[in-house]
Symmetry: C2
Amino acid sequence: MEDLPADIADNEMAQALRHAGYRLTQPRLAVLRVLEQSAEELSPLGIYERGRAIYDRLGLVTVYRTLEILDALGVARRVHIHGRCRGYARAEGDQHYLVCRRCGTITGFPCEGLGPLIVSVQERTGFTVDAHLLELTGLCPECQMAR
Amino acid sequence: MEDLPADIADNEMAQALRHAGYRLTQPRLAVLRVLEQSAEELSPLGIYERGRAIYDRLGLVTVYRTLEILDALGVARRVHIHGRCRGYARAEGDQHYLVCRRCGTITGFPCEGLGPLIVSVQERTGFTVDAHLLELTGLCPECQMAR
DNA sequence: GTGCTTGCAAACCCTTTGCAGTGAA
DNA sequence: TTCACTGCAAAGGGTTTGCAAGCAC
């Protein structure tokens, strides 16, 4: 692991991996780095292609396996556009995604104001709510200009 | 179309199809009926299997094509569990889904209280928000009992 | 040194496409 | 009668699995 900059092995996502008992391998760090450097959602194939520029022996299968781990750890998350799964992006804590449907840019926003809604739904339905998926889709400032 | 009960051809989903200029065929009505009768989300294959009990010449391909139309019309919607697309369910107007992660039961709840959040996000980011995906996941009353 | 991790290849499976026959309007 | 629609078969493409070699710890 000495041939990759230390800051990559020390970022938040890597810590989560290490903390969960996973080994910090070069392929995994390459995936982390790609997710970290990207402002858009990326498909596994896209991550694979960019990842090869960082670690050229990276395999597509490893990308899938790494994404599965990152998703389970809550470090990366699936992103949807029009209800269709379009790829992955890093999960920023308790944030949700705002996705530009034209260029794919992703912006996180804090999960606020959802609490009362959830409480009300729980009271009305008897369900216990333990997870929620909220994604907003629209146009980013640049794409609004574009047309 | 005389060999199917009139109430199926006259339901809300069928009206939407007809109104959009689509023909009300037996395969499409079978798909509608399956969606209407199910309280859970169903995969295309699941819809196909149930649909064959209603119209035995139904093809899987037609199920896919019909779901695509229904999705575009906002009559059916993709449902996710843990960020993963698990199938389709009828869309109830402006409602969102509450999914039981154990038995898959789906309950709709009205989209309320999201307005202020969206306005605030728009102001903060400069995005124009034109769609949102909100799904709550948890346990339904029966599954809470179960363990 | 140990055993988790990787990458290749191949299997898998879900989804889409081409096309000729069918049936709703 | 017309042309949208359907179903079959096949192609297509993304995802998963088996297994021997590799490497983090």
